[in-house]
Symmetry: C2
Subunit: 344 residues, 2 copies
DNA sequence: GTTAGCACTCAGTTCATTGGAGTGCTAACA
DNA sequence: TGTTAGCACTCCAATGAACTGAGTGCTAAC
């Protein structure tokens, strides 16, 4: 479904104008705006065609045209095609370095929101088949131990275990040694019944504690939607766009952002959607898997932190968002995050 | 500034009616609603008095009266006085037990929001002069160590330390032993220069690592507003109250909830405000330390987790919130949280 | 194929009108 | 002296008519 040159130019002009104003675009505007030197009447004819083809639509008779989801889609695809692999040459964003991952994420998401004037979100890196690098049990008090699990990418999780039996230092040391030898380098998927049996056998008298420990490990390592850390920022930016800010829509959207499980679902589905070439994905209106976002567009990018460890950054805005700017922003950020995390 | 009986009755009637309707209350309504058997004219006279005293006000001439901040304050104080220490006999809320503190908090805050139809918030327990119970350094990779700090109340924090020197297992063991002996039972305030000097002396060759470790400990233990975990829920409930839901106010409020630092400030100030008898505090309109909440009321309660370890639960709603219900809710929850956490 | 012209449509704004809720004040009443 | 009825007045909110202006579709001419 390709368009001949002139129609495409007009469609682009309509979309670009609409992106800026948010108001339906009339034929006269286009007639003046483009350098096609066509009268408004001609434009009207073309517009009628474009409407028939489903790229634009009229909110009501005697109003201008606005892009349809399909129109946006064409526009975005065109955009991507044009700027193939162009190096994002934006001024680099100032990200203060800190060793707390959480802080970096919060900072980034805030920055992105204020930079784009849209709502932004970011997920912490998920342990997509991440390997255990270090594991340690320590006795904290009489019947409590803490299990610390460090995985590739230096993600630390800990978990308290209530113990029935009292272990002495010597036994704990032995247990630790064993756990590390057996579990080191394994992913959660690698821990199967065989491994468990082996561990229990080696643990001997303390085999019941192994169950607890493995539970803790699983708990710590699990990639679960409700476990996924998601930060959002600039939720209130949606009030800047009238088409989203009437109170029922705004309320719905903000709930979605606050609850986070819908976002988690979204992120999960983008992951499985496969990362194409650049890893930047655009969901326009109904293309989004989350119903409450049907009036929005969502642009996501994936950043990497190591093999298989990746997180998602996303922008949520009105369908008439400045896709070009947003994609550039994400590309830059993607690069920066990659470098920041990989350096550490 | 006490009120004679009849004026008080009328004021209460005005407030109660306004709490329900949100509309200015007229004299006729009161005349019918109360069992005082007074005509609307009489009520009008009394209302004029009440207005002069500053308990109620008129949005404009020829409108009914609405309570002023001062009116609410009187009402709330009265409420508190009446129900002295009445055992909250609400049906206990269903809190599913889980060993993850974070999950409990999220669940509680969600529950509270849906139960009250207001916005709710909760902070994780803060380490108010909390004692170190256990500390451990472990080598994770060649030049990285992880410091795990457990404090009273079983709050675990960890921190990665980049090391220059490479320590062997033996040295780490020694270091750990020393750290635990010296630091165990101390609060962050107790760690003064003397303690530090002592540690460094004992550490000998590895004295430079002590600085890093202490930084990590400080980082881990610090009670800091931007470090404070705050969960909110039901932000969109504000759309249920017209007086808060016009888009500029709503936007401001939601930003405040999203950013969380203002909330943190709030919580901090409630902490210092002293915990009175029940630990429940009410901030009406301008009484709130946070400017963006001047159109709201905030009710907070403190729950305890151990000596000095406490968190805050709060409800944010319109000034005409159902104070009685909210306070009851908080009281119940407070009791439940106390028992849940103390049992574990 | 392009353009000028014209009749038509429709959302949004302005403006005056109206209704109703509520007040303040005064005069009468117990 | 406190209470009440009555009345004139005020002001908001809703209603609806009239108007404006942007934009269209269609037709006929270029």
């Amino acid at each position: 479904m390709d368009l001949e040159g002139r129609k495409l130019t007009i469609l682009k002009a309509i979309i670009q104008t609409y992106l800026q104003t948010g108001e339906p675009v009339g034929s006269r505007t286009i007639s003046k705006y483009t350098d096609l030197n066509l009268s408004s009447a001609t434009i009207r004819n073309e517009m009628a065609d474009l409407e028939e083809m489903g790229f634009i639509l009229q909110p009501h008779t005697s109003a201008g045209r606005i892009p349809s989801d399909r129109g946006y889609r064409l526009y975005v695809d065109q955009l991507v095609a044009e700027k193939t692999q162009e190096v994002a040459n934006m001024n680099t964003l100032m990200i203060e370095k800190t060793n707390r991952m959480e802080k970096v994420l919060k900072q980034v998401v805030k920055l992105l929101a204020s930079n784009t004037n849209y709502t932004s979100m970011i997920t912490g890196p998920a342990f997509h088949g991440n390997k255990i690098k270090f594991i340690q049990l320590s006795r904290v008090s009489e019947n409590q131990m803490v299990a610390v699990v460090v995985t590739e990418g230096n993600i630390i999780k800990n978990h308290i275990i209530e113990t029935q039996q009292d272990l002495d230092e010597q036994q704990i040391l032995k247990l630790n040694l064993m756990l590390n030898t057996v579990l080191n380098g394994l992913t959660i998927d690698d821990i199967n019944l065989g491994v468990i049996a082996k561990l229990k056998e080696q643990a001997g008298v303390h085999s019941d504690i192994i169950t607890d420990v493995l539970d803790a490990v699983a708990e710590a390592i699990r990639t679960d939607e409700d476990e996924m850390e998601i930060y959002t920022s600039g939720a209130t930016n949606i009030f800047k766009y009238p088409e989203l800010s009437d109170s029922s829509k705004a309320s719905e959207l903000i709930s979605t952002l606050e609850e986070k499980d819908a976002l988690a679902e979204f992120v999960k589905s983008t992951m499985t959607n496969g990362g194409e070439n650049t890893g930047i994905q655009v969901y326009i209106g109904n293309e989004s898997p989350v119903q409450t976002m049907r009036d929005c567009s969502v642009v996501t990018a994936t950043y990497e932190l190591g093999e298989g460890v990746q997180g998602t950054i996303g922008i949520i805005g009105p369908k008439r968002m400045d896709y070009e700017k947003v994609m550039d922003n994400l590309k830059t950020l993607q690069a920066q995050l990659d470098s920041i995390f990989k350096k550490e």
